[in-house]
Amino acid sequence: MARKTTTQSKIVWTVIAWVVALVIFFPILYAVITSFKTEPEAIDGFSLIPSGTFENYITVQTQRDYFKPFMNSVVLSIGSTILALIFAIPAAWAMAFAPTKRTKDVLMWMLSTKMMPAVAVLLPIYILFRNFGLLDTRIGLTIMLTLINLPIVVWMLYTYFREIPGEILEAARMDGASLWKEIVYVLTPMAVPGIASTLLLNIILAWNEAFWTIQLSTTNAAPLTAFIASFSSPQGLFWAKLSAASTMAIAPILILGWFSQKQLVRGLTFGAVK
């Protein structure tokens, strides 16, 4: 970028940007801070400096073991994402490189399957799950999460793949490259960022899905969304314990998001921009 900027304006922009960023991040920060306060401290007015107790985490862990729902969340979100990619990559590929008149309609139809309100179809799905023995199984929930996120995955991949210029393929073919070489040396490198960012986005969506994962699980397959539902409003003072449980539930995905945000952004750049 060849724009001239004075140090002065850079400082002004920096201050504004940091203020905005901190305001947006504040609720999360405050929950983390509160999780290190004692319960009376938590409701005793505004304070950014906790007494630093770990008591809440210990209480939460004794009431409900964190490890099992955590593992379920990991398995479900990664499993359903991989499954969705296996289904979606060929479909998106076909739509992008061999589009027909109906491709757009098919895409819109796929997205419209997400418009059915989940609460209205719970009972039929519950009965189906019971009949197939899928209640409270990781397999059942993986299938479920795959199906709900599949439209978004197909759609995102389609927008990425479409950006890969067809001329490159032509050129490669002229050079006498075989289809195999074409895929390995030309297409894959161009598609990877898009696939990676779709993968990340879908892991986030699956991790945060809080309707089906609670309704269709009991103990064996219950992920962190169900873990949180154990702490939402018990009797008595609960602010600090709730903060601790919340922090435990969001920390893994938050950290993953932070580390992979460059990748996420690169993929999105590829897709959403002409």
Partner: protein
């Protein structure tokens, strides 16, 4: 090469996804359609009978029905407005050369990683609570009576929470679109003496149109189905002030155990959502073709 082959291959490649989604759509939809014509309360299973269109009539005449549709629209439009405008503003901000850009970006996108029930719980108990929330602390610091957000501005409060969750998504997409804007074009415009406002209207905004379309499309699909945030914070009230269509279905199907009524509500919601989607596609869909 034979195009017929390509076409067949393309169909084969699409088949798994299409079939999976078809099954996923047809089975629940047909079962819901079936239930919507039954008088079926979960708690009195011995009284199941054919009800014709009674469930539809019952749902449609619910005193909260029109309020709920109106609230659904306000919620979707409100959140879209905040996230798109906020997303562009923050995108422009982050596009400036600043110190610690990486960290700022991480902070801004963080809300997207918070699961919806946790987001609602944090806002309800720690930020907007009339006695112990941060807003109340701020109000008391200035000697003002704290506002009881969920009682006085219920729908607005829900919109704020949902917008907070979706702002990062909009920001990310819009920011990446902004960054792809050609620097040379910008410079040329600057040299031509175009001021910031003009540059924004004639250069930046058209460039962003496709990204904005993406944001609107994806978010609308998710926003039409919002109910968990309402359940946690206002429970649809006071009165029907924050009841949207999905929450009304929730109340009928889950609190009332009215399987038939809930199914009818579900079908009505699907029809309305598709109408919205149709107009949405006509309004913004052409941006996707560019």
């Amino acid at each position: 090469m034979a195009t017929q082959n390509t076409k067949t291959l393309a169909r084969l490649m699409m088949a798994p996804s299409v079939i999976a989604l078809l099954v996923w759509m047809v089975i629940p939809l047909s079962m819901t359609l079936y239930y919507s014509f039954q008088n079926y309360n979960l708690l009195t299973p011995q009284n199941v009978s054919f009800g014709g269109f009674f469930n539809y009539q019952y749902f449609y005449t619910d005193p909260a029905f029109f309020t709920a549709i109106w609230n659904t629209l306000i919620l979707v439009v409100g959140v879209l407005g905040i996230t798109v405008i906020g997303g562009i503003a923050i995108g422009l901000l982050l596009d400036q050369p600043i110190f610690g850009q990486g960290i700022v970006r991480i902070l801004v996108i963080s809300p997207f990683f918070v699961m919806p029930p946790v987001a609602a719980l944090i806002w309800k108990n720690m930020i907007m609570h009339p006695s112990y929330g941060v807003f109340a602390d701020i109000a008391r610091f200035f000697g003002v009576q704290p506002i009881d957000w969920f009682a006085q501005y219920p729908l607005f409060s829900v919109i704020v929470i949902v917008a907070w969750q979706w702002l990062p998504f909009a920001t990310l997409i819009l920011l990446t679109a902004l960054q792809s804007l050609d620097g040379e074009q910008k410079e040329a415009a600057e040299m031509d003496g175009a001021n910031f406002v003009n540059r924004f209207i004639y250069l930046t905004l058209p460039h962003l149109s496709r990204a904005i379309t993406v944001v609107i499309l994806i978010q609308t699909i998710f926003l039409l189905g919002i109910y968990a945030e309402i359940l946690v914070t206002t429970n649809g009230g006071p009165g029907y002030a924050s009841t949207n269509l999905t929450f009304l279905i929730y109340r009928t199907a889950r609190l009332g155990y009215d399987v038939g009524g809930g199914a009818a509500g579900g079908i009505i919601a699907v029809v309305l959502a598709n109408i919205v989607a149709f107009f949405l596609m006509r309004a913004v869909g052409k941006n996707l073709d560019k």
